[in-house]
Symmetry: C2
Subunit: 394 residues, 2 copies
């Protein structure tokens, strides 16, 4: 075949979009370790170790803590198909594309979905949740996105978790863009099911969805009247593979687990709190720099994600052209807006090893230089000073 005469082209790029994020070479090398059988004893001890490391980043003692064999969206679907039976009423909050997606997934599970929505760029108002809980005391669970990847909004969870539990419901949380980059205190808040993706703040290649399930949710799943509609994501079987029994379910993506294992080791070596502080500090520096460039951030300070920043493009600036030049001239990938924000914002991820001084300085300089070409007033020197001032603060 002619096509195989051409070498595969995989250039190095700087991934500052909403994910995947830069993957350290030690993690990439781990992916290239020899494939083991999915029931091999050495692979099983690697799974055990990986599960313990996942418990560490989820800050949980949950027995049922696994990496599902799919990307973050498979984590979302895992939560919905296992927790929901046809005809169940559920409350799903949405303040962006991923909350809306969760409403869609829940409906496909046959749920009657009560929506609690907020405009893109704002978090969901706990008062709206309170009202919904009052009107729908028969709902089984509330689903909510912790870190909305489409907007960069951080959704505070504590008050809502307390209300949801007070109403006797389960709390399901999407932590795709938060886990490993900011506090996701699963046990402290008693979150019943939390899922994430390997390619955001965990800084591994995409392909695995870490999931943790609290003991009450496990009982709920075990007590289902009907089979889980997805065989592939059925936790009643998957818990027997990741548990003592090692019951064969499907063939785990062995080399992806090596990568996740190495990525989690990177996090354990750094320390969770240290990692949160680093993400927070670097994001603050980026915000200061963007504002010093004269740009406006989409989200107000109290609700900004340390992992992902949405910045508005000034009137008259073609954001697609800006992104194209960032890629062509600097090999920098950033994200476009999704849904209603398409064409209006760019999304900048500083996650995992990508959250560092070098990337902030390079990105601000590149963006400033490109915008000046677009006739937009700005001063790169001022932006860098503002960013570095934050970084040098104790």
């Amino acid at each position: 075949m002619d096509m195989v005469k051409k070498a595969r082209k995989v250039p190095e790029k700087i991934l500052l979009g909403p994910g995947p994020t830069p993957v350290e070479s030690r993690i990439l090398r781990a992916m290239a370790e020899p494939t083991l059988g999915h029931l091999d004893r050495d692979f099983i001890s690697l799974m055990d170790e990986t599960r313990d490391l996942l418990r560490f980043v989820f800050q949980t003692k949950n027995d049922l803590t696994v990496a599902m064999s799919g990307t973050g969206s498979a984590g979302m679907e895992t939560a919905c198909v296992n927790m929901i039976e046809r005809g169940d009423k559920v409350i799903v909050c949405a303040h962006g594309v991923f909350g809306t997606r969760m409403q869609d997934v829940a409906e496909r599970c046959g749920a009657e979905v009560v929506q609690v929505n907020a405009p893109m760029g704002k978090p969901v108002d706990p008062e709206d949740v309170r009202k919904a809980l009052k009107v729908h005391p028969d709902a089984k669970l509330l689903g909510i996105v912790h870190a909305e990847t489409s907007t960069g909004v951080l959704q505070p969870l504590e008050e809502i978790a307390s209300m949801v539990h007070g109403a006797g419901m389960f709390m399901v949380v999407d932590a795709v863009t938060s886990l490993g980059g900011m506090d996701v205190p699963v046990d402290r808040l008693g979150l019943d099911m939390v899922y994430s993706g390997s390619q955001k703040c965990l800084a591994c290649p995409p392909g695995l969805a870490p999931v943790t399930v609290g003991p009450k949710a496990v009982e709920h799943i075990k007590g289902r009247k009907t089979k889980v509609q997805s065989w592939y994501l059925d936790l009643t079987m998957i818990m027997r593979y990741w548990g003592q029994e090692r019951f064969y379910h499907h063939t785990a993506p062995v080399n992806m687990v090596y990568g996740l294992n190495e990525g989690l080791r990177v996090i354990a070596e750094e320390g969770l709190q240290e990692r949160f502080v680093r993400h927070r500090k670097n994001a603050s520096a980026l915000w200061a720099g963007l504002e010093a460039l004269g740009l406006e951030l989409l989200v107000e300070p109290a609700y900004r994600l340390p992992s992902l920043t949405s910045v508005k493009m000034p009137e008259g600036v073609d954001e697609a052209a800006v992104r194209r030049r960032l890629m062509d001239e600097y090999s920098i990938e950033v994200g476009s807006g999704l849904g209603d924000l398409k064409g209006k914002i760019i999304r900048i991820g500083l996650m995992g090893s990508g959250s560092n001084r070098k990337n902030i300085v390079l990105f601000l300089s590149a963006l400033g230089e490109i915008l000046s070409g677009e006739g937009f007033r700005n001063d790169v020197g001022t932006a860098l000073s503002a960013a570095l001032k934050v970084l040098e603060k104790e």
Copy 2:
């Protein structure tokens, strides 16, 4: 954390089980290439190339040919959730664990499943299919496993495909353990949906499920009255990501796609027919050697898979002990029996680069030596001669 002080243990093993199979180091190295964004133009051209290579191994011109972001079982679920709507009647054949699994998956999609079964170790009888088609002319599709991984049975497809199409139904085929190791003539037989897994004869790490869908099945899916129950596996959206539009659906497992791309290049370099001949010849040599050792094969010659061989363990021999010694003393992995065959057979895979003379000779010698310790009559020299005689035949 204490656990990260210990080095990760990933020893080299010889994978002669039902999968995963040995992965060439060039494929492992491809997995370690830098992660690109899932909407990056260089990744998109890699996807295009990978899709063309998949069409080559599927022997199809089908536009909708993709790698689903999950293992082979996700491929099975993809076929069922997309082709079936609640209340549909479908016919699903089973001659082993994977056919039975397809019946389960189809039921979870809300289908009324008509079973056409055969005992483990035999293929499904086309006459039984003919009867089922006659009694159930209102069925929408027939699902069948081409290469039954639990038994090593090859299911002939031609006659059944012709009957199914004659009845105006769709033909869905599980080619998990056949694609890339034997003829899967998708277009010649007009198979409407065929899925596979990356970790069998494609000889890549597990984690992707190649799927190809014929034009009539695409129309059928586009004309659904209800949404696909799985958001994650919904081809109506995934075809927009793999197609011209590049519509964002979920984050593809980028590095897994590198591995698949390299694995498909390996196949294209060897040539499909050459690869089929090699698998067939090496399997024949293994069969001759096993029989010369005095062992009985589960499947009669006409229905044996070139990729996977099931051999009965003699009365009084503890098959678990045999497998343990193969692993402990030779680092060889083989598979146990599943379901009713548990404890009765071992399954030997010769797939991809693992299908070679060295593995046949090593495996027969190791097995012969272990069985002699179990008091079983056998002569390793005779077995090797029988195997080599086949290999040296033109």
